[in-house]
């Protein structure tokens, strides 16, 4: 019995009463009779009925044989089924995975039947001892520690102790110092945040012209006159940087065509051309591309965390965790009628960081809208 203190008197006749829904005494859950008591040789070890065990052995053998067959089938499938196209890879995956699963299952089921029906039932009892060591041992260890500490001279010799600590301090810093060049840009750390303020839209082409806006994927420059259906939207990247992921991570745009009367006061009209407005596509929350656009409401939605921006009103945040509007890029047309950037964003695009400050207020103070 447990060591509980609530012992109650147990009437003798209470034991054999059968509770509805539970097996009658003497039946195990599987329905066979429990082995008689004389089978028990060691306390806590109840041997299985030999007849039952013999039957179980056949089941186990069958399971193991299934594993044998499945494993052979795996090897044959490996040789037989080639991969390459999605279809053939699918067939190979099914064959290899199916046979592997079957092989493992056969072995697993076989062993379980073996343990449950052939090995004895165990209810062994082992004693536990408190984790704590005997008091004598603890005392001995304490004494030894003190003796060793004194023998070593660490306690008595101050100079030794202090210089050891002195030596350890810079040595501990060495691994940290070594990590400094993890940043490959060779910039002083204080300049990190400055690079975040600029995008390639501030650059010029080799012959000194402003960068064209080109369609993401095709690289086609955009003639303003051709982008003329209101409600239209394009994903746009800077000319010459179509495959520069670092540039794209800050400079990707969405370009939206409005009817003139749809544009509200939040949009800087000087930075638009004929109802075409360009916003940074990089969400100001954590940087996902805000790629979804609802034409009727002019809402730009970021699919990651659902920040929603009103494109008709300067991409103001109207819902979700983003705290700032998507920055607007000043655009214009060049002599051939292609859309180009007037210059860089006036505020850093993308997610916020410690050194960003209230860049919008700063831009306003310098004149013009953010």
């Amino acid at each position: 019995m447990t060591d509980n203190e609530h012992e109650i008197e147990q009437p003798d006749e209470r034991v054999p009463k059968r509770v509805i829904g539970t097996p009658a005494p003497g039946t195990s859950l599987l329905g066979e009779a429990e082995p008689a008591d004389e089978d028990v040789e060691v306390p806590g070890v109840t041997l299985q009925d030999e007849q039952k065990a013999r039957k179980a052995e056949r089941i186990v053998a069958l399971c193991f044989f299934v594993t044998f067959l499945a494993a052979v089938a795996f090897i044959i499938s490996y040789v037989f089924f080639q991969v390459g196209s999605p279809e053939s890879t699918g067939v190979s995956n099914l064959a290899l995975g199916g046979t592997l699963t079957l092989a493992l299952l056969g072995l697993a089921v076989g062993i379980v039947v073996w343990v449950r029906q052939i090995m004895p039932k165990y209810s062994l009892v082992q004693e536990r001892h408190p984790m704590v060591s005997p008091a004598d041992d603890r005392e001995y260890v304490a004494d030894t520690f003190v003796r060793g500490a004194n023998e070593s001279g660490f306690v008595k010799r101050k100079l030794l102790r202090r210089t050891l600590l002195l030596a350890a301090a810079p040595l501990g810093l060495v691994p940290l110092v070594l990590l400094r060049d993890l940043d490959n840009s060779k910039m002083p750390g204080a300049r990190f945040n400055k690079t975040l303020r600029h995008t390639v839209w501030g650059e010029k082409t080799k012959d000194g012209k402003p960068l064209k806006l080109v369609v993401e994927g095709t690289g086609q420059p955009i003639r303003a006159a051709d982008f003329n259906s209101p409600g239209g939207i394009l994903s746009v990247v800077p000319e010459g940087y179509e495959h520069d992921l670092n540039a794209l991570a800050k400079a990707t745009l969405i370009l939206i065509k409005f009817r003139p009367e749809e544009i509200k006061s939040g949009v800087n009209q000087n930075w638009t051309h004929d109802g075409i407005v360009a916003y940074s596509k990089i969400c100001t929350h954590v940087g996902c591309p805000a790629a979804l656009y609802e034409q009727t409401t002019h809402h730009i939605l970021c699919p990651c965390h659902q920040s929603t921006f009103d494109a008709a009103d300067g991409a103001k945040v109207i819902f979700g965790p983003a705290a700032r509007p998507l920055p607007q890029l000043p655009i214009a047309v060049d002599s051939e009628g292609y859309l180009v950037a007037q210059g860089d964003f006036k505020v850093p695009p993308g997610p916020s960081y410690w050194e960003r400050g209230d860049a919008e207020a700063e831009a306003r103070a310098k004149g013009g809208q953010a």
């Binding site: 019995m1 209470r14 009463k17 509805i20 004693e127 990590l179 993401e216 670092n246 209230d358 207020a361």
Partner: protein, 549 residues
């Protein structure tokens, strides 16, 4: 075949060789028949352990082909739709594993499924340990190791998820960058050091690769081993029951029964993962295309264990503070920092500190080897369910776009409701769980004092019908009687009205109050009924036919 009478030569020879060099015989003498208690819930941690082994096996296979490089190349493999597309070597080699290596897709999918199962196994195992109080002395250290393992598993999952460099994994990486850069003071430095410059750079996959296949799994392996050694040394806890107490352990011997069972269980885990990888497609990277920071697919979802962070990010209001105005410092993007750090902080720190906080409140310094039934420590169970509710709500809200789309509700409303529920839900869960625990304790008291329904209907002389109750079976009674009151500090004032030492001052008073609420016996087993009519048994004709009152 006849039975063995001596150790066969094939085993005896090598064993002798080893024992003469290692002296392992002594260890085996003590441990071959080590007893392992049995309960279904003890198997949960094993799922995690075996998943980890499978992760090591399949992961090693994947490293043979995977190229952790972000160099842009033109794809020329077998997958026709992407032929000629510029992509990183990492993505190209992931495609190669999927389409050009026989069994490669199977191994990739097994690796991913095993990773999901690994974290899931750890999580439910941790919950089992929490709710049964198996973290109590002497197992606090093993609990801390477990919390570390869970944290490392999340980091391992995050780094692995980013490696294939497809569009979906890149979206995860971008969010990681957005979170890292938002950290006050150090954010830009951390991102520049992590990515080797500006995002995405050309280094992060190689760096995540070495973290993912070497550093983190190395630490996990070491901690898992320590976890096992401590479990072995301290012997497993057991559920209360007949013949089980704090000074023994009842169960099956390691050799041969437990060993074989564990082996079979490993094979089952392996088979389930192989079956999932065969029949349930996971992370079809070829459909997503190569990563570019300019694109994303709608409905992007992280692996399940990152869902709660995703949900936290989604429901956060758009708070951002510029502490010094336009100065180039002092921007606090609270809409990122709070959801990224606070839920994770609450859960992981809460888990790590719980054993010590509980000890501080109850003053319980005893060793515990018999697990609690969750109902018998109602406040702990309520705290646990409350935390599960908090986590579960965040997790659900991480898929609020899917919820909105599938149940045709407004996306914005899922967010608004989520913002309220995240506070109300855990509080409600606490109250409801607490009441349920007390109710279950009352039920137990009823079982002890009135017995269980026998199914026998008896007509009394005056015509009334009653159902006769019969005393519970021995093992059930022993299981119920394994209940021990939660310890309480001596909080009451002494005769002169002075509170005991350690209970003075505001913190001490709080501790006293908490101890009073947390500890003590809420529903004593033997006087839950109050009728005093003893045990109803067949023939006794008790007219009490309610079990709970």
């Amino acid at each position: 075949m006849s039975e063995l009478t001596t150790v066969p030569k094939a085993i005896g020879g090598p064993s002798n060789y080893l024992d003469e060099r290692l002296g392992a015989g002594n260890f085996l003498k003590r441990n071959l028949r080590k007893v392992f208690p049995d309960h279904w819930s003890f198997l949960l941690g094993e799922i995690a352990l075996y998943s980890f082994v499978i992760l090591l096996l399949t992961g090693t296979f994947l490293t043979l082909w995977f190229k952790p490089s972000m160099m842009e190349i033109e794809y020329a493999g077998s997958y026709a739709p992407l032929r000629g597309v510029m992509m990183s070597e990492a993505y190209a080699s992931s495609l190669e594993i999927s389409f050009d290596v026989r069994g490669g897709l199977l191994m990739r999918q097994m690796h991913h499924w095993a990773a999901l199962l690994f974290v899931a196994g750890m999580t439910v195992h941790a919950l089992r340990v929490f709710f049964t109080g198996a973290y109590r002395k002497p197992r606090e250290l093993n609990w801390i190791i477990g919390v570390l393992l869970l944290t490392l598993a999340l980091a391992e999952g995050l780094t692995g998820y980013s490696l294939p460099d497809d569009l979906l994994s890149g979206a995860g990486l971008r969010i990681t960058e957005g979170v890292a850069i938002s950290l006050p003071l150090v954010g830009t430095y951390i991102t520049f050091f992590l990515f080797g410059g500006e995002y995405p750079g050309e280094d992060v996959i190689a760096r995540f690769y070495s973290l993912h296949i070497l550093l983190i799994p190395g630490i996990i392996l070491a901690l898992v081993s320590a976890h096992m050694v401590l479990m072995w040394m301290q012997k497993h806890t057991q559920m209360p029951g007949k013949g089980r107490n704090n000074h023994n352990v009842v169960g099956a011997p390691f050799y041969p029964a437990f060993m074989a069972k564990a082996g079979a269980y490993f094979l089952f885990t392996f088979a389930v993962i192989a079956g999932l990888a065969t029949f349930a497609q996971i992370n079809p990277i070829w459909l997503f295309g190569p990563y570019t920071p300019a694109d994303i697919s709608a409905g992007s979802q992280p692996d399940w264990y990152m869902g709660f962070l995703e949900g936290a990010l989604r429901i956060m209001p758009s708070w951002e503070i510029n502490m010094f105005g336009t100065a180039n410092a002092g921007t606090l993007p609270l809409s990122v920092i709070i959801p990224a750090l606070v839920p994770m902080g609450i859960i992981m720190t809460g888990l790590a500190l719980y054993p010590f906080l509980e000890q501080w409140v109850t003053g319980d310094k005893r060793e515990h080897h018999v697990a609690d039934r969750p109902r018998n420590n109602p406040h702990r169970t309520s705290i646990g369910i409350s935390a599960i509710t908090f986590y579960g709500l965040l997790w659900l809200l991480g898929a609020n776009d899917e919820i909105a789309a599938n149940f045709h509700v407004s996306l914005n409303w899922t967010t608004y409701v989520g913002r309220v529920l995240i506070f109300v839900g855990p509080a409600l869960a606490y109250l409801i769980t607490y009441r349920m625990c007390l109710g279950l304790q009352r039920y137990d008291a009823g079982v002890i004092s009135h017995g269980v329904e026998s199914g026998v209907i008896k007509r009394l002389p005056h015509g009334e019908f009653i159902e006769v109750h019969t005393p519970p079976a021995d093992d059930i009674e022993a299981h119920v009687r394994g209940k021990r009151p939660v310890l309480m500090l001596p909080v009451d004032d002494d005769s002169s009205g002075i509170p005991p030492k350690g209970m003075r001052g505001p913190l001490g008073k709080l501790r006293g109050l908490m101890s009073k609420a947390y500890g003590g016996e809420k529903i004593p087993l033997d006087d839950g009924h109050g009728d005093g009519d003893g045990h109803a048994a067949i023939g006794e004709g008790s007219d009490d036919h309610t079990l709970t009152r």
